[in-house]
C-alpha cells in the first residue's frame, strides 16, 4: 500500500466514523460539529483524489457556510431544549433491515461497476483547468444555477419578511 493509499483509508475512516457519530447524537450542536469534521474529511479526500478546488470549496461552502447556518438556527431557537421522540426498537427494525438491504445493493453495485478494480491514478485538476472546462462546456448550466441562486435569495427574503408582518400578509393574501 502506498502512502496515498494509506491516507485514503485513514480519511475514509474519519469520514465514516464522524458521520456515524453525527447521525446518532441527540445534541444537535454535537451533530453539527461531527458533520463539520466529516466534511473536512471529505475535503481532504477530494484533495487526495485530485480536486483541490473542490476540496477548498467543500470547506468554504459546506463547513464554512451551510453548517454555520445550521448552527446559527440551532443556537437561535435553542433546539437542544426540545426532546426528540425516539421510536421503539420494533418500529426501527424494518427500517434497519431495509437499510442493510440498501447498503448491500449499493456495495454490490460498487463492485460491479466497470473498471472498479483498477487503482486510481494520481492526477490533479488545477483550478484553471476546471474553470476552463466548466465555463467552456457548461456555461448555460452556470447561468441556470446563478438564476437558481437568485431565486433562492428572493424566496428566503420573502420568507423572512413573512415572519416580520405575518398578520398583514395573511390579510392581503
Amino acid at each position: 500500500m502506498t502512502l496515498y493509499g494509506f491516507l485514503f483509508y485513514i480519511v475514509a475512516a474519519i469520514i465514516i466514523g464522524s458521520t456515524a457519530m453525527a447521525v446518532t447524537r441527540r445534541n444537535l450542536v454535537h451533530v453539527v460539529i461531527y458533520l463539520v469534521l466529516s466534511f473536512f474529511g471529505t475535503a481532504m479526500l477530494f484533495y487526495l483524489l485530485g480536486a483541490p478546488m473542490l476540496a477548498v470549496l467543500e470547506v468554504i461552502i459546506y463547513a464554512g457556510a451551510i453548517m454555520v447556518l445550521f448552527l446559527f438556527v440551532i443556537m437561535m431557537i435553542r433546539v437542544d431544549s426540545l426532546e426528540e421522540v425516539i421510536p421503539p426498537f420494533r418500529q426501527r427494525l424494518p427500517a434497519m433491515l431495509l437499510g442493510g438491504l440498501y447498503l448491500g445493493c449499493a456495495l454490490l453495485m460498487a463492485r460491479g461497476t466497470p473498471g472498479a478494480g483498477a487503482s486510481l491514478p494520481l492526477l490533479t485538476a488545477s483550478p484553471k483547468e476546471l474553470a476552463l472546462y466548466v465555463f467552456g462546456e457548461h456555461w448555460f448550466t452556470i447561468e441556470l444555477v446563478s438564476l437558481l441562486l437568485l431565486a433562492a435569495l428572493m424566496g428566503v427574503l420573502n420568507l423572512g419578511r413573512m415572519k416580520a408582518d405575518e398578520a398583514g400578509k395573511e390579510k392581503s393574501a
Partner: protein, 331 residues
C-alpha cells in the same frame, strides 16, 4: 528517500520558524497597540516591565498561564475547551500560504519561502477564516451564558456576512493574476502593486477584514458595554489568552493578505524581501490600531447595512467592471 527526508526537515524548520515569528509578532503587536493607543489618548501605556515596557508581553503570558482555568457550571466541557484552540489554530493555518520572500537556494535545491504553495492558496486562507467562525460560535454557546451566546450569535452573523464581501472583493485580483496561488499573485505584481489597479477592491477588503477580525468599529460580538465581553465572557487564563492570541494572529494574517494581494507582497527596493513584508504587515496593523483609536463602534443594524447594502454590491460591481474591461482589453 533522501529527498523526502530533506523535504520533511525543511518543512519542519519552516513551520517552527513561522510559528515562532507569528507568536512573537502577535505578542509585540499587543505591545504596539497598547503603546500606540496610549499615545493617541495622551497616556504612556505600559512602561514598567523592561525598557519602554518591552517585556510587558512576556509578563502577560506568565500571568495568563498561572491564572485559574475556570469551566463554568452547566457548560459543554469538551466544546468549551476546544473552541479557543479552533480560533487560534485556524488563524495560524491561514499563514501557511503567505509567501515570505523569493525562493532560497539551499544546498543546490530551490526552497520556496512559503510553507506550502497551494494552487488554491487564496481560497485556502478563506476556508480557514470561515472555519474560525466555529471557535467563536461554539465557544459562546458552550459557555452556557446569555452574554456569551448573544455575542457568539452576533459574531457568527457578522463573520458570515462579511466573508461574502471579503471573498468577492478579491475576485478581481484573481482575475488579474490568473491564479489562486499567493506566489503567482505576488509575481503578478512585479510591475505595479494591485492597490493602484484595484483601489475599490482594496477599500472593500480592508473594511471587511476589520469586520472579520472583530475589531473596533466592528467589535459588536464583544461590545463590553452591552455584552460584558461577548463570546469570551466566561473564559479565563490561557483559554482567554488563546482567543486573544487568535485575534492578533488574525490581524497579522490579514495584514499579510493585504500585503500580498494589494501591496506587492515581499517586493520592494533596497531592503531584503522579508523585511519589506514585515513592514507592510505592520503598516496594515498600525492602520487598524489607528482606526480603533479614532472611530466609534457602529450599531448592529448599521453593521449589517454596510455589509449587505454597500460593500457587497460594490464588490459585485467591481467584479463586473473588471471582467468587462478585461474582455475589452484582451486581444
Amino acid at each position: 528517500m533522501l529527498t523526502w527526508i530533506a523535504g520533511f526537515i525543511v518543512l519542519v524548520v519552516k513551520l517552527v520558524a513561522i510559528l515562532f515569528f507569528l507568536l512573537m509578532a502577535a505578542a509585540y503587536l499587543v505591545w504596539v497597540e497598547r503603546k500606540f493607543l496610549a499615545r493617541l489618548q495622551l497616556r504612556y501605556g505600559p512602561n514598567r516591565a523592561g525598557k519602554f515596557g518591552l517585556l510587558q508581553p512576556l509578563a502577560d503570558v506568565v500571568k495568563m498561564l498561572t491564572k485559574e482555568d475556570v469551566v463554568p457550571d452547566g457548560a459543554d466541557r469538551v466544546i468549551f475547551r476546544l473552541a479557543p484552540a479552533v480560533v487560534a489554530g485556524t488563524a495560524f493555518l491561514m499563514f501557511a500560504v503567505v509567501p515570505l520572500g523569493r525562493d532560497l537556494t539551499l544546498f543546490g535545491r530551490s526552497v520556496p519561502l512559503v510553507v506550502t504553495d497551494l494552487n488554491v492558496g487564496l481560497l485556502f486562507a478563506f476556508a480557514m477564516s470561515s472555519l474560525g467562525v466555529y471557535g467563536i460560535a461554539l465557544g459562546g454557546w458552550a459557555s452556557n451564558s446569555k452574554y456569551a451566546l448573544l455575542g457568539s450569535i452576533r459574531g457568527a452573523a457578522q463573520m458570515i456576512s462579511y466573508e461574502l464581501s471579503l471573498g468577492l472583493s478579491i475576485v478581481p485580483i484573481v482575475m488579474l493574476a490568473g491564479s489562486f496561488s499567493m506566489v503567482d499573485i505576488v509575481n503578478a505584481q512585479k510591475g505595479l502593486p494591485f492597490i493602484f489597479v484595484q483601489p475599490l477592491a482594496f477599500v472593500i477588503f480592508v473594511i471587511s477584514a476589520m469586520a472579520e477580525t472583530k475589531r473596533i468599529p466592528f467589535d459588536l460580538p464583544e461590545a463590553e458595554n452591552e455584552l460584558n465581553a461577548g463570546y469570551h465572557t466566561e473564559y479565563s487564563g490561557m483559554r482567554f489568552g488563546l482567543f486573544f492570541l487568535g485575534e492578533y494572529v488574525t490581524m497579522m494574517v490579514f495584514g499579510g493578505l493585504v500585503a500580498v494581494l494589494f501591496l506587492g507582497g515581499w517586493r520592494g527596493p533596497w531592503l531584503p524581501p522579508f523585511v519589506w513584508l514585515v513592514i507592510k504587515i505592520l503598516l496594515v496593523a498600525v492602520f487598524m490600531i489607528w482606526v480603533r483609536g479614532t472611530l466609534p463602534r457602529v450599531r448592529w443594524d448599521q453593521l449589517m447595512t454596510i455589509g449587505w447594502k454597500a460593500l457587497l454590491p460594490l464588490a459585485l460591481l467591481n467584479v463586473i467592471v473588471t471582467g468587462a474591461l478585461g474582455l475589452i482589453m484582451s486581444p
